[in-house]
Amino acid sequence: MNVERLVAMVNDIASFFASEPDPETAADQVAAHLQRFWEPRMRGAIVRHLAAGGSGLTPLARSGVARLQK
């Protein structure tokens, strides 16, 4: 999968949930969205990208993706 494209997509998702005042809840919502709508190989690719440094991910996007690893 094109990781640059996935990074842009997860950043867009994080932008929406950024209005949630509690950052932990916001990160949970990002993760829940990815879990619910992203096919496993997409989730795997973004998780691997984060493990490799997560270049380009916004802080909330990073937090959300990090929750997928758990």
Partner: protein, 945 residues
Amino acid sequence: MYAMDHRDLGTPACVAAGEVRLEIDGHEITVPAGTSVMRAAALAGAAIPKLCATDTLEAFGSCRMCLVEIEGRRGYPASCTTTVAPGMKVRTESPRLERLRRGVLDLYLSDHPLDCDTCPADGHCELQSVAAALGVTQSRLPSGGASQRGMPPDVSNPYFAFDPDTCIVCSRCVRACRDVQGTFALTIEGRGFRSRVSASQHEPFLGSECVSCGACVEACPTAALTEKSRIAKGSPVRAVTTTCAYCGVGCSFKAEVNAKGVVRMVPDRAGAANHGHACVKGRFAYGYTTHSDRVLKPMIRERISDPWREVSWDEAIGRVASEFRRIQAKHGKASVGGITSSRCTNEETFLVQKLVRAVLHTNNVDTCARVCHSPTGYGLKSTLGESAGTQNFDSVAKADVIVVIGANPTDGHPVFGSQMKRRLRQGARLIVIDPRAIDIVRCPHVEADVHLQLRPGTNVALVNALAHVVVTEGLADEAYAEERCEVDSYRRWRAFVSQARVSPEATEAITGVPAALVRSAARLYAAGPNSAIYYGLGVTEHSQGSTMVMGIANLAMATGNLGREGVGVSPLRGQNNVQGSCDMGSFPHEFSGYRHVSDAATRELFEDSWQVPLASEPGLRIPNMFEAALDGSFRGLYIQGEDFVQSDPNTRHVVAALSAMECVVLQDLFLNETSHYAHVFLPGSSFLEKDGTFTNAERRISRVRKVMEPLAGLADWEITMRLAQSLGYPMRYAHPSEIMQEIASLTPTFRGVSYEKLDRLGSIQWPCNDRAPEGTPTMHVGSFVRGKGKFIVTEYVATPERATSRFPLLLTTGRVLFQYNVGAQTRRTPNLAWQSEDRLEIHPDDAESRGIQDGDWVGLSSRTGDTVLRATLSTRMTPGVVYTTFHFPETGANVVTTEYSDWATNCPEYKVTAVQVVRLENPEAWRARRRAEREARTPAAVSAT
């Protein structure tokens, strides 16, 4: 003329309260108060002669043929304009009445050709019928006086002819154009013998304002306005009631046929979505179904650079099965997938997703709703609890304020557009939110109270500003919001929209809309009392499409405009079965009825029925499939009726992805642009060739009935079934009704649906179950589907697609009345007479600074590609915004659109693309380059060998 099996009652039904008992020709009858004597007589079985009256139009009282005698009243009143009264005693027949009617008839016949034997209306002409009833064969009046005989016919319209010789100037056509269609294109010009029906100001029909809806043709009592198909093919001998395969209005039609095929399509007066009205596409543009471009033999090829080879159904389907099994064995189950088509039936889309999930053992199934209304599903489900519009179309008749956002109903959904215009002529107020001054902003007898002409891409900022006014000016329905919705979510949202930074004044620089106009619109919407929102792809096809849908739902909940007639949030769905394809489980994350694949109980239900284990993880969406194809992990795709290459954004990217796959299977009527990348072509069937159901934008399930046998031998559902069998799965149905039984058994919202009930009721709006056995016209009555409505904070996030010095204009796209989506259907009809190319609409200021004049060839470029088309100067857009359609592959407008998409659903952002437009000094060089690019993307000759 009417449908062949229609019995006309003369005047419309009256819905007034109370009943009246009267006597007609000695027989007592009870009818609703306000009913005309003519209608009451028809209901009583007495046929009063008439010429200017018909039950789709208000009484006119001009022909004087329907005179009756009423006890105690002087003279001979016209029965069409006389309403019933208690105790009234009416005589419809008497020697005196007969003399009067004969006298009137003499006048009509004195100026009418009596060549009934060769007239196309022979046997169906109302003048002929009246004359026969009165025993009159010719006029007693001398000929040779003033006459309009011999005037040349107008055959300019490709679908119908106007012959003034046979016109009796009854004005039914003029009234139909005015009252039913709302275009006001026709008039009676001149007086006395010089009276003549005229389109616009004495123009040929084709060049006039006429939109060719055909309401005038159907209303005509003689042969003056006649379908050319009827002239060519003769009288129909039978009629089949079915559903249109164009837009999401889902009009019901009677297909009238004889041995030569379909003679004409007549809108069904009993059709609950259209009430007997139609548009130019549904009524006339069905010729594509028998067009010579139809491919009727299955075809295969090893490589996309090879020529096609015609093969048997068995060989073609066997090839697909062996290739998919080979690919899955080598690259895993998730290396293949399928696409359902919103032009196919519910039953057919259900089978494709079943094949993907149960036979291919993956959830890699998606549908073309991905690129249009997927944000509707997400946004409405999140806020209200159901992925569908809240109303029926008739609800608009009770709306006091109508808001149209990013939709163009008079072009995209013309029959509903006419219904909306009718309500607006009655006095409803209108707010239009659109970058473009669409027709309904100002058309005959309709003018928007407010047009918020926002910059493309700023919808969310605008809806937040509207909400700001509602909340901060105390216009919200606090009691409704707090009782019907989650209080915490409401209060949090209220605090969000109350902030000064989202006010009309603060966002004016973003949206480009004067704050005062926004405030005016918000106050009007909140005042209602019944305010209804209708929206289209101008809402969904944005990077914040889902956010905007939620913003709309927030606004409706905050003002209490949900859960009753006259209000609501209604997405105007693009294709005939977009709603249905989504309902049927076409999305990769959910089963039919919008239940997530991770839900174990739902999965178990399907596993029990289908007798296979099912995947619990969501599959790939269409754009994800393309990305996976490019990385080599997705290699086989079964496409049921879709043209990615023309309709999806960033054509080069789509082409690269398709070219990377090992087995692309296209099931379609025609070799479309996507066929150039297919390895197997399976000839599909049109809506006239199969049984099934479509579900329209108001959740209305309507029957599709077979009018003729599938030209290629198999209906689409049969193709999918045979493919499943070839893959080793026992998928067997004798008829689509059996598929619907399975859908009903597995889908709570369809639990009560059956073909028997559909035949009995005509149509059903889901949910249809034990609680609503005959369906649900209005949703969320009393409570929301999700229990409490949920307000969601909708922060505006600007699209990354911005105008720059290199690409300083913003392009937005749409469609026009006479063409439809990628044009696969309408480009193969005489609709080309109205539009035969995509045009770029550009503001005169932008054109002048580029030296562009109307009709010039221009180059349209974005960062993803360029194309060439001709310019039309137009003040519909503000400077800085240009507009085009995507109907013609020669233009390929999606060459320039980008990969940006909705954050939640990946619905492409078609509506915002930064572009540059230049006048072409040497357009032929650009066109040659464009052709070369297109040919380079077309690896093989497409001729079947």
